[in-house]
Amino acid sequence: MKKETHIHAAERFLNNKKNAVWHDETLWQTRAKRDRQAALIPEWEQLRELASKIKMHTITHLDHYLEQFAAAAEKNGATVHWAKDAAEHNAIVLQILQQHQATQLVKSKSMLTEECHLNPFLIEKGVDVVESDLGERILQLMDIPPSHIVMPAIHIQREAVGKLFEEKLNTEKGNADPTYLTRAMRKSLRQKFLASTVAMTGANFGIAETGDVVVCTNEGNADMGTSIAKVHIVSMGIEKVIPSHDALSVFVRLLARSATGQPSTSYTSHYQKPQKEGELHIILVDNGRSSILADKDHIQTLKCIRCGACMNTCPVYRRSGGYSYSYFIPGPIGINLGMLKAPKNYYTNLSACTLCFSCNSVCPVQVDLGNQIYKWRQGLDSIGKANRTKKVMSDGMRMMFKQSGIYHAALKAAPLINLMPRALIYCKADKWGIGRELPQFAKQSFNSWWKKEVLKK
């Protein structure tokens, strides 16, 4: 658990100015690409509305759709496992690996396995876990976590990757060309793919009617893994189920356009049956999700399709980076998911929001991200985490605004602040003075001007 607050971590991120500017601009470009794609679809806003409604319907009939999905998947020959929490999920994966005497597991990107801390668990049991998404593999070799849910290594510069590959893959010294480095990893991971007997993926969607699991990738790593290994393990959050392919058509039109500004991911793969003489295991993971259903203020987080658009647009995320948040999912959605997981551990992330609501406007499933952050802030006092200075100040303000005598006296006295020495106004105790300039107070208040100039005439 990181004890550092968002503010301090952000400060550290901003110390590397060049990197920080690059990060901000690059993510904004992704947001701009998203806008261009959205503008090409006249019915875009209708799609967002539909996607939101389909998700609200599905998550409030989750028992029905999960049973339907599991029955359909089993009929297709898949084995469906149910995991209440991360520990159960990890134990199921290990058991499947042991049944097949597999010592290597090739994985494609999955935020759920990150949530469950699957990799360290398996590595401790002696399994060679191989992340196969390029960004994830870079991070795995660096032994650091992702800083974005779709572009996990967005905070890493090419020179750092070049240096890493020199050491791990014997690439040319000083060569940091992205194509060269990508090809080097292609070659290295191809051998891992060829040697794997078990492959693992996450799931973007599970289709209740037909029992297939849908995985979207650009690299083709999920397919490379699962088309070679005969055993495929899918790790799927219970909120990923949707009713039908008809419903899916709405989500796939939104997902890639919102995430990276592409009309589609290169691969939208549907795994319906195990390979011939193979096995398909689907692990349905709750890990706290079913409890969120009762929380009407935050139930909409369950609509999230993990596109990352809220991060790309967030003025705070872009300028502070994924590591400034203490929860493993950063940005607006991560602030909310962290609070749902353990408010006392993650409440400091709440300050990473200007309430500009840009996240609400781009979210393809209309999650009320900004509203939720506002509500969490309102509830901080109830978990004993309200800022004491702010509390004293708001108590003082409440008193002032309630009693007109005090209010008018303060109003009259306000221009005196103009005469106060700068050192006093911008003293250390005044955090609001950092990077902000106090405007000059007018000589008289609007109230007294109105009385004098308008009412008297």
Binding site: P42, S227, Y267, A294
Partner: protein, 191 residues
Amino acid sequence: MSNKEEILKNIRLHTQETYEMPLITLDAIHYPDKVEQFIQVSKSVGGNAVVLREGEDLNELIRSLYPDAGKSASNVPGIHAAINPDDVRTSQELNGIDLGIVQGVFGVAENGGVWVVQNVKERSLYFISEYLVILIDKDQIVDNMHEAYKKAAFNDYGFGCFISGPSKTADIEQALVVGAHGPKGLTVILR
């Protein structure tokens, strides 16, 4: 109580207000020239799409598109290829194929996707080939994904995939690199 029952019980316990399923009826995008739109999008996603002209020989077209391809693999009738992928014993044997030539079912104009259902013994062919050619009929292009999912069906293999352009990544500094793990190039031939 089994895990499944416990999870479902917890869901039922916590579910409060319920919401109706909306009708998925919307006037989705249509293109005046679906073939042209499909070709344009295919190019924009790093792929390619060409129309087989009348009288043109399909095998010659493929050879002209990939003149350097060494080992090719295909089980499509009439296609000249070094290897029939249905003859391999394992998926690993397909490693090293320069050019895979496969049959797709239909294309989607809005995103350049082609619905491919497994119709070879080892589906790794679609991903492990250095370059991939997908054949579809040029009258088999739908406007959008809503139409696509009404049409998409599985066969006995139980695997289907919308493939839109070659494999790619931008994980290093958002610089686009074509050919991450899968094909480094992809051409859809409309005939």
